[in-house]
């Protein structure tokens, strides 16, 4: 493992302490008198009907879908941008083709109305 990632590793190990300390302190200091009413789900005052399950629109999934595509695009484009000095004009044309192809996906989703809310 390279030296620079050692810092990140230590950070990941130590980071949970910082949120844990106040939460544990809260757990120790706070009163503890649970009762069924208090632990009810906070919705409309009346007791919750059914599960919190709601039939969600497929819209949410579509947004996440388009996001995934652009995420992958980032994984390709970030190293390319870092290597920009060594690139030829031909490479730029390839990048343009790549981005345009992905934009067609966005355009398709748009044209189909998949990006409309509701």
């Amino acid at each position: 493992m390279s030296q620079e990632w050692q810092f990140i590793a230590i950070f990941i190990v130590l980071a949970p302490i910082f949120p844990a300390a106040p939460v544990i302190l809260n757990h120790l200091l706070g009163p503890r008198k649970p009762n069924p009413i208090k632990q009810q789900t906070y919705e409309c005052g009346i007791e919750t009907v059914g599960d919190s399950w709601v039939q969600f629109k497929v819209q949410y999934y579509i947004y996440a879908l388009v996001f995934v595509i652009f995420d992958i695009e980032a994984v390709f484009l970030f190293p390319i941008a870092a290597a920009f000095d060594q690139l030829t004009l031909f490479a730029i044309v390839e990048i343009v083709i790549f981005v345009v192809l992905l934009s067609m996906g966005l355009a398709y989703a748009w044209g189909r109305g998949a990006l409309e809310w509701i």
């Binding site: 996440a64 595509i69 190293p79 690139l87 996906g105 989703a109």
Partner: protein
């Protein structure tokens, strides 16, 4: 045992343990959480292998994007998977046997590894090379593997074809997924 080895063992235990949870947990949401921990463990292994960029990409794509898709899908299809349903189908034992046999076969293959262009199996048991193997040309940009990757993506002698095909694949995936997932007109009426 060196520090590296201890870290490696911890990471592998996390990876494999949570992977086992993924395939055994009945609660799908918890299985997805375990899957995220597996991804994290694998990212750790990438860092151990000096592939920091890939570790970050793993986090960005797997945890940031694919896990969210998975959780959305779990939430959208949750109603019928109540907790008391069995997690496994009828061929669970056959599956177990296949997996164990498959692992043993792969282990056998690993231990008599071929195809590396060398009959010398000591490569399995020694430390990684930090410098280049003798007799091979070192690309001038190898010091920075990330930039080298970027160049390889668009290098006409490198990976330009897979790179463009990847964009076509993603486009096809996006369009296909929208077509499949989008509710048809008759569904909306009911």
């Amino acid at each position: 045992m060196t520090t590296d080895q201890v870290i490696f063992i911890i990471l592998s235990v996390i990876t494999l343990g949570t992977a086992l949870l993924v395939v055994t947990l009945r609660n799908l949401f918890h299985a997805a959480l375990a899957l995220m921990a597996t991804f994290l463990g694998v990212a750790g292994l990438y860092v151990m292998l000096d592939a920091g960029f890939l570790a970050a990409a793993q986090l960005l794509v797997y945890i940031g994007a694919i896990s969210i898709l998975l959780i959305f899908a779990i939430m959208m299809t949750r109603r019928l998977m109540s907790a008391d349903e069995p997690a496994f189908n009828s061929q669970v034992w056959a599956a177990l046997v296949t997996a164990v046999v498959g692992f043993l076969v792969v282990l056998w293959a690993i231990l008599r590894l071929t195809g590396l262009g060398t009959e010398d199996l000591s490569i399995l048991w020694r430390a990684p090379v930090d410098s280049k193997p003798i007799g091979l040309d070192v690309l001038p940009y190898i010091q920075n593997s990330v930039a080298a990757m970027g160049q390889a993506f668009v290098d006409p002698n490198g990976f330009v074809l897979p790179f463009e095909i990847a964009s076509v694949l993603l486009l096809a995936g996006l369009v296909g997924a929208i077509i499949v997932a989008w509710p048809k007109a008759e569904d909306e009426e009911s």
